[in-house]
Symmetry: C2
Subunit: 132 residues, 2 copies
């Protein structure tokens, strides 16, 4: 299950706080019964376009990964929670909305499990839902 | 643009080759005009379910990230190429299909750019395409 949450934060301070993101990525996996198998990797990005600077964070979990990218000047954030094990996606959406003070967000859920038959392996990826 | 490629490899050796994945993640971003901003992080995962072991790799790019997870016993691989800049997704699909010897794969493309209006920010994420 791959949960994508993209949104706008009402708290621009959070979007540039590397320690906050590092602590979040360290602690969060266990809150949705995932097993963290690496330290969190967090860095600040300042690129050629000044308005695109932000912080990025990533952590490996046994079931796949969690990744976060922020765009501070736009108050924008991209979040991926990807796990081959089922998890409580409603809880994860609520946790990230609260944890990053999202005033607007949109989400989608993609079933990326291995297909059990050859025919299914040729079928399109299954978008379970996409909502606000 | 977030490109997802999930598939089966005909070359199980590649799916367990940490050096191959590390080299791929180090070299690949520049092939699609992306800027790598971290070393590649690669690790082997052996979990509680024996059949789920594999390798995982991740690299930060200026525009977001590339992530790869393999499931060796199933010959299965999950690939994410996520960039806020446009890139040649057809080329990326072909490169990964060739580079990881995918005999079957399915892809999808998600537009994750920040919406330019408040109304758009409340609309669902835009799935541009999903194909075989």
């Amino acid at each position: 299950m791959h949960l994508i949450i993209d949104g706008y934060s009402c708290n621009p301070e959070i979007l540039q706080d590397e320690d906050y993101l590092r602590n979040w990525l360290e602690a969060y996996p266990s809150r949705i019964s995932m097993t963290r198998i690496s330290p969190p990797y967090v860095l600040k990005y300042t690129g050629s376009k000044l308005e695109d600077w932000g912080i990025s964070g990533f952590v490996f979990i046994a079931e796949s990964h969690i990744a976060v990218h922020t765009f501070v000047e736009r108050n924008y954030i991209n979040i991926d929670v990807f796990s081959c094990e089922d998890f409580d996606t409603d809880k994860a959406i609520e946790d990230f909305q609260q944890g990053f003070n999202l005033c607007k967000s949109r989400t989608c859920l993609i079933d990326r499990e291995w297909p059990l038959t050859e025919a299914a392996a040729s079928s399109p990826l299954n978008f379970i839902s996409h909502g606000k």
